[in-house]
Symmetry: C2
Subunit: 351 residues, 2 copies
Amino acid sequence: MPATPNKQVIFAKIPTGYPVPGEHLKVEESTIDLDAPLPEGSFLLKLLDLSVDPYMRGRMRDPSVKSYSPAFPLGKPMTGDTMNVVIKSNNPNFKEGDLVYGKTGCGVFSEYVVIPKEMEPYFELRNEPKETGLPLSNYVGVLGMPGMTAYVGLLKFGAPKKGETLYVSAASGAVGQLVGQIGKTLGLYVVGSAGSDDKVEYLKEIGFDDAFNYKNVDNLTKKLGEVCPKGIDIYFENVGGQMLEAVINNMNQFGRIVACGMISQYNREKPEGIHNLMQVVAKRLRIEGFIVGDSQELKEPFRKDMTQWLLDGKIKYKETIANGIDQTPQAMADVLHGKNFGKQVVKVADL
Amino acid sequence: MPATPNKQVIFAKIPTGYPVPGEHLKVEESTIDLDAPLPEGSFLLKLLDLSVDPYMRGRMRDPSVKSYSPAFPLGKPMTGDTMNVVIKSNNPNFKEGDLVYGKTGCGVFSEYVVIPKEMEPYFELRNEPKETGLPLSNYVGVLGMPGMTAYVGLLKFGAPKKGETLYVSAASGAVGQLVGQIGKTLGLYVVGSAGSDDKVEYLKEIGFDDAFNYKNVDNLTKKLGEVCPKGIDIYFENVGGQMLEAVINNMNQFGRIVACGMISQYNREKPEGIHNLMQVVAKRLRIEGFIVGDSQELKEPFRKDMTQWLLDGKIKYKETIANGIDQTPQAMADVLHGKNFGKQVVKVADL
């Protein structure tokens, strides 16, 4: 019974502010017998790439607090979106060598894991990279949950009309960079903000009409008025707080605020207040929150469109890839502090 | 040239907090020659009933501040929704004895007024009360702008489904009492809040499933949890501030917040902050502001339905009627302080 080392990312302690690598999130090593017989219907996965995303901060909570995404159990491996390869199987739907997507936050952050039959619905064959030649990491990003979030959020909830102004915060992130580029394909005037001059430069490179570093701005309301001279028709909301308030001041009548996340608030014990919601009435604004998992009807159109856009070079996608599962806690902290540039992925192993 | 006394309600000074009768809003008397010849296309109206509504606070502002409804010009008569009778006319569309609705906030708060031809589009024949027998005051309330606001807000923006829970704040007001009763006709569980025990009693009389006096409540979030045991699916928002925050804490997934007004904030120099908008994402809430004037396609269905509901006794409508144009400034202040009970109307003259 040969024991193979098997590292896992463990949720060790509930954070109150930012999670600290090594304290709240830890990598621990156990062992696994890769030769052990598999129960019927189960299959053995080797983890290749994993995704760390801002929404995961919401899962690092006391499980008695209800939310849309389940709390991480303490002392257990974290879960999220993953790409894996089947190395052994007792399930006819998953064959050795198949590439498998661990979806809806259910991929296990463990170098090796046996998936029992009852968990099968949370795993999906994704052998496309063998044909498209696109990097495996794309399949947890631009072609995975973050990509579909951008697509669904802008097309379904933003109700974009050619010539309108779209403003995206956290615009160089996993979702934001795609929202802006999809917006350009639709003929929108696209403005983004990010937290460093490098990121701003990148946004302009990939086609944003204008972009600014919010850290250099004293008066956000005034700045948004300057960079969006016709006002804002669609705001793709990723950050919340003061940014949201400044955007509301600059929204046009009948504007749409697509609420995808509010990362500036996730690690605050007391969130910032929004004082200008009266404008929602006067300007007839719509603020709508969404979770990508509710829009499965758009999964196939999204995958088809986005794959084609990538292959045609119409959409570019920047990733920051950390090497090795050991880097996961730090990569997670980096995302929450905004230190990543583009989509943060952890590469665990080669195919 | 006999001079008839003609009292008018004048916007005398821009208030910073609550408007004070006699200071910001004044009644002044001038004279009018009722026998003077009328220019072609114009007509002379005698004012019968006028409506004072919370949104009018927004018009008492510096005209350099833009908003959906124009600022009142200083030193001029205020305008709003009115019912009038034509006493002389040089316009074939408006005949002596016709009842005329001064709509979209353009009826003039003057005992007598000559309407020039170019203002004709803001006046509309409403001779129906001669047939329905319903009181004229209904035509600036339940059958006018406030009634249509309730109808449009709940049906078009609330997207109600039988069995859902509807919560209405300022529920005994001109709009709220109707929202709740329309909700009952649709099979909703309807809960309302108001600012006195009498008002709460009235809400229960007209069919609200539950109601409470918000002034007696320490913890609004907890109270709403008690009175809406299945959570809130639709919130008809009339007040804003702390109430909105408490409602968000109690909203169900995919809930709709129909933002009609935020009266608790109109007279504050610094509005209250809303700290829990993160729940908009987690619960996929939709917050949508609306102005009734944008939904003219529903005017005829609204008038037909509401007239029938009133004649059938399915909908009851409470009004507070002040007698005489002199009472208008005080009636306006009462509305903003929440002292009125039901729709506030000023009866200026008998037909």
